[in-house]
């Protein structure tokens, strides 16, 4: 089957001029005087017919530029982008509206912009009006519309002319909840009818559920490409990590530091392994997890040695903290000052993502942390569960009597 969209080695460079004078210098005197900005760099992907394809990424990652190129509004610097059939761009729903003209007149104008003839617009006219629920207001100037009415007409228009490729950019949050439902239903309908959908959104849950495949754009390059769920998971991982990076994290104590602080206890080593004691860093959701901790409680230490292991998702959300002395005195004294602790999580129903372990050396009161090692071990969990949250809670649905 022929792909509906084929993008190969697509790059887009914007020339940034410092002002009209530098533009003049370059255009007329042929002296290069611009900075280059790579909005897209060597992007390649294909979307087959009838597929829903997600495009995710942070603001300024190049999503809009990519959609502009696909819509044919701007041209690539190198590479190519081929789109089969009529692409209706939901880029900016209300871009073409003239405030002084009526809703109906604006329907005709937007249709003309989409390259349709008068009779083609007439065919879809009543359906568009019905979908937008603006029957009473359709012959009133658009400037009298509320913002909700505005976007309702916009959405009805963008989906009203039966496109073979639907390009949706941040369009689902339209109107009130009831109308939003109507919009998502319509998009699902398009999908069922075999319409190719390019879906560009910050609502990752919608991308996950609607799309089969996705790409993640990061600073103009493809950071990940593949099954939508995996791409979204990797992207959310990245975003979480980025967020936690911006908040200060105390770095693990180093040897020299310990002397100066006259530290009396510290964590020597942490090993993460599976049920068979094999060290691992990749787990399936639900797998057993085992953590071994070796630590040193020096001569200055008084009390009962204890350790705690915190399971933390990479955005800093703590899933659970297990402390040794709540489970009984389970530290094994290997020599005078050296202890070995082992904690087993027989079942870890974590949702997919990246996690790490924080390990703490403490005593039975657990009031003082003698040593904290953040990110002592990092690991990833993969899951086929599409659920949202932190862990999969055991549950079942029953029919109420």
């Amino acid at each position: 089957m022929k792909p509906a969209v084929r993008v190969s080695q697509l790059s887009k460079v914007y020339k940034l001029y410092w002002g009209p004078r530098s533009l003049f210098k370059e255009m007329v005197l042929r002296v290069p005087s611009h900075q280059q900005f790579w909005a897209l760099k060597e992007i390649s992907f294909e979307v087959s017919e009838g597929e829903a394809f997600g495009i995710i990424g942070e603001n300024g990652a190049g999503k809009t530029t990519l959609l502009q190129i696909l819509a044919g509004a701007t041209f690539p610097t190198s590479g190519s982008a081929n789109v089969q059939g009529k692409a209706s761009a939901l880029l900016e729903l209300t871009a073409g509206f003239h405030p002084d003209f009526t809703g109906r007149e604006n329907i005709y104008f937007s249709g003309a912009l989409a390259g349709l003839s008068r009779s083609q617009i007439q065919e879809s006219e009543s359906e568009i009006i019905a979908f937008s629920e603006l029957e009473e207001f359709i012959d009133k100037p658009v400037k009298t519309y509320s913002s909700g009415m505005h976007v309702r007409l916009g959405f009805a228009l963008a989906t009203g002319f039966d496109p073979s490729i639907l390009v949706i950019d941040e369009a689902l949050a339209v109107g009130d909840q009831r109308f939003q439902k109507k919009c998502t239903d319509r998009i699902l309908n398009f999908k069922r009818k075999g319409c190719t959908i390019l879906f560009c959104s910050h609502n990752l849950y919608q991308v996950k559920t609607l799309c089969e495949r996705a790409i993640w754009l990061k600073k103009g390059r493809i950071a990940a490409q593949g099954v939508a769920q995996e791409v979204v998971d990797r992207y959310t991982d990245y975003v979480r990590e980025d967020e936690s990076k911006s908040s200060p994290v105390s770095s693990p104590a180093v040897e020299s530091d310990r002397d100066s602080k006259r530290q009396i206890c510290w964590i020597e080593k942490t090993v993460l392994s599976d049920a068979e004691h094999r060290p691992r860093s990749e787990f399936e959701s639900g797998d057993p997890l085992q953590v071994d901790i070796w630590c040193y409680f020096g001569p200055g230490f008084e009390g009962i040695p204890a350790v705690a292991v915190a399971l933390v998702r990479n955005d800093g959300v703590c899933v659970y903290t297990a402390s040794s002395n709540t489970a009984g005195d389970s530290l094994r004294q290997e020599s005078l000052h050296h202890y070995h602790a082992r904690v087993v999580f027989p079942e870890t129903p974590l949702l997919s993502g990246r996690y790490y372990l924080n390990v703490v050396a403490t005593d039975q009161e657990k009031l003082q942390a003698y040593d904290i090692v953040e990110r002592a071990q990092t690991f990833t969990v993969s899951s086929t569960d599409r659920g949202i949250g932190l862990v999969r809670l055991h549950h079942y649905w029953i029919e109420p009597k």
């Binding site: 020339k15 509004a73 761009a89 003239h98 002084d100 003209f101 104008f109 912009l113």
Partner: protein, 261 residues
């Protein structure tokens, strides 16, 4: 280029109605402004030039005759000026459309040219009615007016596309155009007859293709003065030249234009 325009004829129709209606929406006498405006301008020029400055066309001493000669030239001139000045900003004003869609750029200046032409047409109808009423209508060459319309539109369109493209790169173009038109108004025989000019100024008038345009219009409406055939040919060549320049400029700048909006 013409194929693009033909293909988008419905879009152009919508753009033109939007432009014409958008201008008068909310006003009480609406489209009558487009007749009132040139009539007021005509009256003003007639008063100033014929009665105050005693300017005359031919050997007819009446100020009414002056008004007719003036109006025949003023109609195409005003349409040209309006079209060029307004289309110089047409890409910038419609940036929101151009950046979102695969937009046939040539339709924007064309629709401005066409909507100015509609106003010229309205003025022409009024003019012809007046000519008939005072029995000064010359039917012999009147059919040629449609040919003049075609050449005028071709020229205006070519110039309009050129300035629309260039103004995206250098916004100074719109300002320069305004100054240029002010200058051109006086080196085109509109408020004075061409034969008044002598020496170097006459050469200057002859070099200006618009001189021959207004002379041709005067001839088809009023039957005289007979324009120079070479001059009219020069104007026709100029109008196609302008068209080709417009086409060249658009094809050269089209790719970069969108990104600068």
């Amino acid at each position: 280029m013409f194929a693009t325009l033909l293909y988008n004829k419905y879009l152009i129709r919508e753009l033109v109605t939007r432009d014409v209606r958008g201008r008068y929406v909310g006003s009480i006498i609406g489209v009558f402004w487009s007749i009132l405006n040139p009539v007021l301008q005509l009256t003003l020029y007639t008063v100033v030039f014929s009665t105050v400055m005693n300017m005359r066309f031919g050997d007819d001493p009446s100020w009414g005759r002056f008004a007719l000669y003036l109006f025949a030239a003023l109609l195409p001139w005003m349409a040209l000026q309006e079209a060029i000045i307004r289309s110089s900003r047409s890409f910038i004003e419609n940036a929101h459309l151009i950046k979102k869609l695969r937009f046939p750029l040539e339709t924007l200046p064309f629709s401005v040219v066409f909507s100015s032409f509609i106003h010229q047409l309205l003025g022409t109808v009024v003019f012809v009615l007046v000519l008939i009423a005072i029995q000064a209508f010359n039917t012999r060459f009147f059919a040629l007016v449609f040919l003049l319309f075609v050449f005028q539109i071709v020229m205006t369109y070519g110039l309009a596309v050129t300035v629309a493209c260039l103004n995206v790169f250098f916004r100074d173009i719109a300002q320069i155009i305004g100054v240029l038109f002010m200058l051109m108004f006086w080196i085109t025989p509109i408020v004075y007859p061409k034969n008044r000019a002598t020496g170097l100024f006459q050469t200057l008038l002859n070099c200006n293709p618009l001189t021959h345009m207004v002379e041709a219009y005067r001839f088809v409406f009023l039957g005289n003065p007979t324009p120079s055939a070479w001059g009219v040919l020069y104007w026709i060549m100029f109008s196609f030249g302008a068209y080709l320049v417009g086409q060249f400029v658009l094809s050269r700048t089209r790719r970069e234009l969108v990104d600068l909006l």
